[in-house]
């Protein structure tokens, strides 16, 4: 089941448009001929700048089993498009099939069935020799950097240019240019072992950009880096995307990477894409359980388990968690507080977090509501539920506690629970 989330504010995901007989969800139905219309994009798509540069059509990949273990279905009937010029994220736990997926794009792996179309060419049908010429147009960055330890930084960046048959002079000029672009010009003569992780990944990115590709594949490019270096590298990738117009496919298991860098994201589970949409709507309105899990780990803005129990212990009043978002599935926090004020309900923020997703605010706040009249609280909660996502956590025990202002009745808090 694929959920295609739509954001009201952002550009429409390409898959949401009716296109050449495809159903609304962007997935061709079984038996329907695949539609590699890349050479003649429809004018509607062009206007929206949502021209697919990479298309997966019913792609499955099965790794044959051996005596020790059964066959592995790494990809299971995957169909979606990646648009030219976007940073597209593929998120999933290890074993979800995302690394296999990205290796189909440059032909390092071949699909068992289905088509992979890149820049109008069905790469899944090319021979190894034909693939080699395509690969110069697709840069790749790796989790473990995969630099040649026997070569200097300059030698590593020069490598793809040697493969492309560039002259010594051309290579030298281009290498200097690239090292300056990624900010490690002073390390040209150093060996990879002498560099930090962040510097090595910059070399990896410079190397991937050497042949001026149109597509950059980043396979867990920041997973071996510390949080600060991760942000540096993501900033560099965003710069590459915006300044050079290179389409970037980011494979990751960290939602924070998606939040910082990606325009759209596909969530993968057991070889299937379970949800796909633009980053903001995925965060604001996740449908698939796996997506909710990822969003939850990224924000940690909702109390659960132990933290919820501690919270209840400290705050006897009515607790609600409201989702704060930018007009997608919820309202801004100021509107929520205005409603509470109108109903004369006191609200204390006891938990929560607001963060930025794609330059827009997103998160949730857990509020403790108190009012002299319990009915006011009920009315306020009902009204908020109409404008924002509300999760009602209830009050600690009996309803007697609701409606008591803690400020006026501090003594009340000392009354043992059973008696009150």
């Amino acid at each position: 089941m694929v959920h295609e989330s739509l954001a009201s504010g952002g550009a429409l995901p390409q898959g949401g448009l009716p296109k050449d007989g495809l159903p609304q969800d962007g997935l061709p139905q079984d038996g329907m001929p695949p539609t590699p219309i890349l050479n003649e994009p429809s004018p509607i798509l062009e206007n929206l700048q949502a021209e697919p540069i990479i298309s997966f059509r019913h792609v499955s990949k099965i790794f044959p089993g051996s005596r020790k273990r059964g066959e592995v279905r790494a990809l299971d009937d995957v169909t979606f498009d990646i648009n030219a010029g976007e940073i597209f994220g593929v998120i999933g736990y290890s074993g979800a099939g995302k690394s296999t997926l990205v290796r189909l794009i440059n032909g390092l792996e071949r699909p068992t069935s289905g088509q992979v179309i890149v820049d109008g060419i069905e790469v899944s049908r090319l021979s190894e020799g034909q693939l080699r010429s395509i690969r110069a147009d697709i840069g790749m960055v790796f989790q473990q950097f995969n630099l040649l330890n026997s070569r200097t930084v300059a030698g590593n960046v020069s490598y793809p240019l040697e493969v492309a048959g560039k002259s010594r002079v051309e290579r030298a000029t281009r290498v200097t240019e690239l090292l300056e672009y990624v900010g490690i010009a002073d390390k040209a003569g150093a060996y990879p072992k002498q560099l930090s992780g962040g510097q090595r990944q910059r070399v990896g990115i410079a190397r991937a950009l050497a042949t001026s590709p149109h597509i950059l594949l980043a396979d867990e490019a920041t997973s071996a880096l510390d949080p600060e270096t991760t942000q540096d590298v993501l900033r560099l990738l965003k710069k590459v995307n915006s300044e050079l117009g290179i389409t970037i496919v980011v494979i990751t298991h960290a939602m924070s990477v998606v939040r910082t860098a990606c325009d759209r994201v596909a969530v993968m589970e057991n070889g299937k894409v379970v949800e796909l949409g633009n980053t903001y709507s995925i965060f604001a309105d996740p449908h698939a359980p796996m997506t909710r899990k990822f969003v939850g780990t990224a924000l940690q803005d909702k109390p659960a388990g132990d933290s919820l129990a501690r919270l209840r212990n400290r705050h006897p009043g009515r607790l609600i968690t409201v989702t704060v978002a930018d007009g997608v599935a919820s309202s801004s926090s100021s509107e929520i507080f205005r409603v509470l004020g109108r109903h004369a309900v006191d609200a204390a923020v006891v938990y929560g977090g607001i963060t930025e997703v794609g330059d827009r605010p997103y998160g949730s706040l857990t509020l403790e509501l108190t009012a002299p009249d319990a009915a006011d609280i009920e009315a306020a909660v009902a009204e908020i539920a109409m404008i924002a996502g509300v999760e009602d956590l209830g009050a600690r025990s009996s309803s007697a506690r609701v409606g008591v202002r803690p400020a006026n009745n501090l003594a009340h808090l000392r009354v043992p629970r059973g008696i009150a």
């Binding site: 440059n106 390092l108 693939l131 080699r132 010429s133 395509i134 690969r135 110069a136 697709i138 790749m140 790796f142 473990q144 995969n146 630099l147 040649l148 330890n149 026997s150 070569r151 490598y159 793809p160 040697e162 493969v163 492309a164 060996y191 072992k193 190397r207 042949t211």
Partner: protein, 245 residues
């Protein structure tokens, strides 16, 4: 004085005393032995050198083919891999001296005779090739497959990957492996004295050991040790350079 008298009463000690005096009286006649030693050292270096270069080259080839055709690798080919693998495993455990003799007919075909320096060098080259094939393969296996994948992703052909990734990345351990092989080959030269190949080992056995001339034996052994030390030092130096540390 007392010990001396006891010695004369003990036949075993008598033997050892006579042996001592013999070797002392046989103190090396450098006029005669010097040129012999030079010639033998030259023969050893030549035999070992040729066996190392020729055997090492074919070993590198076989090792590369073995690595590349391994299931899951760049040019995977189960048939070639299995045949080569079995062949290497068959040749390597055969005791060297038996192999040299068994190889006789082929040696005669290639070299023209089955004894002498050329025949011995031929046999040594073959053994060195099979030994280094395994050695090369083992060192290539330790290369991070990710680096090979990166080169593939950049559009490099298998042959380019061999030249620019596999060999350079495994260079330091390969140098150390070949150094180990060089020492083994020097050891082989001592054995091929049995088929009249000359060399230092032969000299130590014929002029030293069999004539109870311990002085000559020790001198020759010392030269072999010095040679091995030199080779090892050179190997270590080159490997360190290749590691860029």
């Amino acid at each position: 004085m007392i010990t001396a008298r006891l010695n004369t009463l003990n036949s075993a000690s008598l033997y050892s005393a006579s042996l001592n005096s013999a070797s002392l009286s046989n103190a090396i006649d450098w006029q005669r032995f010097g040129p012999l030693l030079w010639t033998a050292a030259g023969q050893t270096i030549r035999m070992a050198g040729i066996a190392l270069v020729v055997g090492g080259f074919f070993g590198l080839l076989m090792g590369l083919v073995l690595y590349l055709t391994r299931p899951g690798n760049l040019l995977q080919n189960r048939a070639i891999f299995t045949i080569l693998n079995v062949l290497i495993n068959t040749v390597r455990p055969i005791p060297f001296i038996i192999f040299v003799v068994a190889l006789g007919p082929i040696t005669r075909l290639v070299v023209g005779r089955i004894i002498g320096i050329e025949a011995a060098t031929f046999a040594m080259s073959i053994v060195a090739a099979f030994a280094s094939a395994r050695l090369v393969e083992q060192n290539l296996v330790t290369i991070d497959p990710g680096v090979v994948e990166a080169a593939r992703a950049m559009g490099a052909t298998p042959w380019r990957i061999v030249r620019t990734v596999l060999v350079p990345e495994a260079l330091a351990p390969l140098i150390l492996g070949y150094t180990f092989l060089a020492v083994g080959v020097v050891d082989m030269t001592a054995i091929v004295g049995m088929i009249g190949a000359g060399g230092l080992g032969d000299l130590a056995i014929v002029h030293g050991y069999r004539q109870f001339n311990w002085a000559i034996t020790y001198v020759v052994v010392a030269v072999i040790i010095a040679l091995v030390q030199l080779v090892q030092m050179l190997g270590n130096f080159l490997a360190r350079k290749a590691l860029h540390r």
